[in-house]
Subunit: 429 residues, 2 copies
């Protein structure tokens, strides 16, 4: 059994109510496993938890160890799928007291605004740092601009050779601008697999190097993913949460819901939401189809968008993700005067309050006409994170095939790029 | 004339096309000015740029100076409207080299997760710190829990009296738990005005104290707000961007758009988006009405949700907010080999690339069926920020009255709170 479970109490349906989607979901599952659907050349992520390159994995661990020893700051240069998964993992796992002696990790090359680069350089200050630049081609504008700037900064500080010893590239195995630079300058290089697209790449070297630098146990992440892979690939609909989540989303589309609100209950899971948003938005949102993917952090955002979800336009449903147990526990002391009226909570674990907020919110929103499902995992850890990554990837592939779209292309993203290149008068545009 | 302007080139309409909304917008404007609409007891924000309490403003500046001298860290405890405006301002104005010697500012008491409190305590470490707790009642659960914990920490470090000298409360002028604590313990107290609701309160003491602590010039923010107030209150539809923005949103609702995507082009404006989201979501989202408010940061999120906006379900429009000029400038050097193909950008100001991305994206998305308007301001500064705050508040009030909803209540937020209290077995629930 997986550690991830779905509760349907506030969804207006349940597993038996979703049965009408069972055959479609199962057919989609088979397309993923047998590589018979559209975009099947990008299905490398399906088996990566069992067939990943052990030699490259060992090189990643060695490089991460070296980076941790030599650097107080680490800059991950990448955009979209080249950093969202790593960032999700680093923040998910970085609770106080958990990981020691890790360099501070900065994310750069994911924007065109000049202040973000300036802010990162300022934050690094004169501390020793290393860089991992992640780009299949090496010519995507945002990371390419940032890499020119951080490379120049490293060369100024450490000389050309010293800089080369602090630059790690994750790119195409054989060709492209970054690969050529790596060979010419002697940068250590890791591989973006040909058969895995950016938004499904977190379990490849793309995610694993920065996650290992953060001090997390990447073996445990892969073990979690392997465990979830077995469930997703083998289990029938009734015990397969990935098929059920896809079915539930289709049930909501059939009810004309327009927006899926992905709700988390801990700000450290916020970047995981960002990873989810790319995965679902970019995989499903094509040909005039898909659910608008929105992200909120509760209880924080109950005080901003809660009113809308309770009582505004009835066009949403919620997918709530929460941990059954907290990594950090706290208690309130009894206060003699109890002016704030909180003494009834004194002595109880505060994490209990957050858990109760999940159910209280779910029920209130359902009563107001916003159905929701609760996806829970036991506790934040590498093992549960590996399961979550795989669960959402597999379910996304299933949902796309059920919708009749290719889960692995992104034809719409070329439009704005071409427009920008034309306006910039880039040669050839 | 205001410094804020709206470009309609990619919106599918223009000012004359919006004329059909002119009378309704003007009527709503009059309701705000003459206090004749629903919720008119909460219209104190309309005149605050011209009638704010000068004595309290001076006390804010003195308190901010003291905090800056005595503390290396500053914790703002508040949730929803009690912190979103301040956070928006602090991050909007905190570009490198801009403000020196400000304490690091942390935002607490806006969540129930125990790690967020633990992370803030860890980040403060043994540095000297002060606290501003913002709550009208003093009994809202998230800030009340955080205040108990941070107050205990201050008392442990500085003794009861020393702690009292580092605690600043912003609360009801006369009553409530926080007011009582302030009187009993000698905390300096500032006022949450009775006639201004949380999400419209940034220009009151609620926002001004933390913004002043960050080192920003709060006089200039009020001057900007005053300038925009004059435009919003006096100008006819043709030269009144606040009425036009409200009209455009109603045009989009008429076209059955479900989601307003608020797009910014600089991550430092991200918290401003969060403030916007509460303002519009909580003001409009009631009685089954409103536009789902979603926030994205471009170009970053073009690499995640860009595909959906270009080519997914056609149920959105975009409101893009950008600065005509950048506060930080950078240039790329020419690279001999030009492997990344970026030499065509060398020597040009990089901020130009970001500005061009605005137009390139707007055009591509419009071509794909997602209309958008561009709202621009000259450059990030206190003066433009004051204008932006006032502009969006006034336009929101107009839009709500046009929609037939009370802009100033939030009846839906009580539901989940009551549910949570029941589940927590709070006395009386």
């Amino acid at each position: 059994m997986p550690d991830i479970s779905i509760e349907y109490k506030y969804s207006g349906t349940d597993v038996s109510g979703l049965h009408k989607w069972k055959d479609a979901a199962d057919e989609a599952r088979k397309k993923l496993i047998h590589k018979t659907g559209e975009g099947s050349e990008y299905l490398g992520w399906v088996d990566i938890p069992v067939d990943y390159d052990r030699d490259e994995f060992d090189r990643i661990k060695k490089a991460a160890k070296k980076i941790r020893e030599e650097s107080d700051a680490f800059v991950l240069i990448g955009v979209g799928g080249s950093y969202l998964g790593a960032r999700a993992a680093v923040e998910f796992l970085a609770f106080p007291g958990r990981i020691k002696d890790a360099p501070d990790i900065y994310f750069a090359g994911n924007a065109l605004s000049t202040d973000s680069i300036a802010r990162t350089l300022q934050a690094i200050g004169d501390r020793d740092f290393s860089v991992n630049v992640v780009s299949k081609s090496g010519t995507t504008m945002e990371p390419a601009i940032a890499f020119r700037i951080f490379k120049a900064e490293l060369e100024k500080r450490y000389g050309k050779e010293g800089a080369a010893d602090r630059i790690y590239v994750t790119t195409d195995a054989k060709k492209g601008a970054l690969k050529t630079m790596a060979v010419e300058n002697g940068y250590e290089a890791f591989t973006v697999p040909d058969n895995i697209g950016g938004r499904y790449s977190v379990l490849s070297s793309v995610g694993m190097l920065p996650i290992a630098v953060s001090g997390a146990d990447i073996d445990a992440i892969m073990e979690g993913a392997e465990r979830m892979r077995q469930v997703c690939v083998e289990n029938p609909f009734e015990t397969n949460p990935a098929l059920q989540y896809a079915a539930f989303r289709h049930e909501m589309m059939e009810e004309k819901k327009q927006v899926e609100v992905f709700c988390i209950y801990n700000s450290s899971v916020g970047s995981f939401s960002g990873w989810w948003r790319q995965l679902y938005g970019e995989s499903e949102g094509k040909g005039g189809k898909g659910l608008f993917p929105a992200c909120v952090t509760y209880s924080t955002d109950l005080h901003s968008i809660g009113q809308f979800i309770q009582d505004g336009k009835r066009n949403m449903f919620e997918t709530m993700l929460y941990a059954e147990n907290s990594n950090i526990e706290m208690h309130l002391e009894v206060d003699e005067k109890d002016l704030d009226g909180l003494n009834y909570l004194a002595g109880r674990p505060l994490s209990q309050v957050n858990r109760i907020a999940v159910k209280g919110t779910a029920q209130a929103h359902a009563d107001g006409g916003t159905p929701n499902i609760l996806i829970s995992y036991p506790k934040k850890s590498e093992h549960t994170l590996g399961q979550l990554f795989y669960f959402f990837e597999f379910s996304c592939g299933v949902s796309c095939y059920m919708l009749g779209v290719n889960p692995f292309d992104q034809p719409g993203v070329e439009f704005y790029k071409n427009n920008i290149f034309k306006l910039l008068e880039r040669p050839g545009y």
